[in-house]
Symmetry: C2
Subunit: 232 residues, 2 copies
């Protein structure tokens, strides 16, 4: 097989990197994956490719770097027709998918992070309430977007599936570490089933991190953030 | 003229509302504009149309509400072909425009806000440095995107022109209030000329707020934020 002219610079625990990889898998695009050793220092290629933010993921197509995960997913959708469309074709459905993707990044995922990082019990409870409230909104959005089909995007994984689904491993880690079921049959039955379908999809399963391994990584990050020794 | 089925819920000092209005102007779409009286309480129509964020702008097309300014601009571009394209046609150029638009909203404009709101001199100086650093990056981006033409989008105002240009009135207010030239012939000559062209464009000039009026509004907001009486 010819060497691919597509590269992804990433790090395995990053939900944002997963977005780029899933989108490439959906389009059956071969790519070289470079795992950044972030603790040992960012690679020259990363610093050169994303000089503004110096962050992963970066997609490099030929000699062109593309940064920011949702920008990357849209670029992949607009560049390769070798697989189903990722964005819906209807402008209103596209707007709806983009709206929820922005909500997830700006409001919902920061609350997930806060659950793990919160110093006090009140802050932790407030963050859990925000995450749960968001899941109820997303359960309702699933009904409207999927129209009875398997994914937000219909029969196939689409933009909002990718935007939301990439957070499922961290959601499961948060459930495990906090002892609280965030996705449940009682409150979010549609999302609970969607999450299983998403994680077992052929485009997803090989890039979705193992919950146990990610939980270990999460504990290490929290310990570091709190300036404490890692738990024994 | 038939009553328009397009509405914009907005507030005159909001740069984000301006984005929606400029995009509609570019496409020659007639719309009804509703000025929200935010201090007197948000309208029922706003609360119903944007229940998640309860924020302006909202575009209402028929009975469909679309929220978040950059989502709205893309919706307008994808829905009406009655004017030039707003997003570039090339996927890499689209990705570049989306990247800088996200940078402006997430990094650059928050620093502009900080200049006005900062409590201490150190925080204010740091914010000014961030804004200036951002302008140098954007000056460089202008060279790459415009390819010698009048706008980031080429011969016509495009997505990144709208995303950035909507902040020009607040940039001028910040210059006026801080006494510092942020756009200058020495550091950002291309942006300085671009800003004049943007503000005098037919799609922009009627929705760009007057600097004096906006500065008065800005003083009032800062006084309110600091819990002090308005300056005399």
């Amino acid at each position: 097989m010819a060497k691919s002219d597509v590269k992804v610079l990433g790090s395995w625990p990053s939900p944002f990197v997963m977005r780029a990889r899933i989108a490439l898998n959906i389009k059956s695009v071969n790519y070289e994956y470079f795992e950044e050793r972030l603790r040992e220092g960012k690679s020259e290629l990363l610093l050169k490719s994303n000089p503004v933010h110096k962050k992963i993921p970066v997609l490099i197509h030929g000699d062109k770097p593309i940064c920011e995960s949702l920008v990357i997913v849209q670029y992949i959708d607009e560049t390769w027709s070798s697989g189903p469309s990722i964005l819906p074709s209807d402008p209103y459905e596209r707007a709806t998918a983009r709206f929820w993707a922005a909500y997830l990044d700006e409001k919902w995922f920061p609350s997930i992070r806060t659950i793990g990082m919160a110093q006090g019990e009140d802050a932790r409870k407030a963050a859990i309430a925000q995450v749960e409230e968001g899941l109820v909104l997303l359960e309702e959005a699933f009904g409207k977007c999927s129209k009875g089909k398997r994914f937000f995007g219909g029969d196939q994984i689409g933009y909002l599936d990718i935007a939301f689904g990439c957070f499922l491993a961290w959601l499961r880690v948060t459930e495990k570490m906090s002892g609280i079921k965030l996705l449940s049959e009682a409150n979010t039955p549609a999302l609970l089933n969607w999450a299983d379908r998403f994680c077992s999809d052929a485009a997803v399963k090989d890039v979705m991190p193992d919950t146990e391994k990610l939980a270990e990584f999460g504990k290490m990050v929290i310990a570091k953030m709190r300036g404490a020794a890692p738990p024994k």
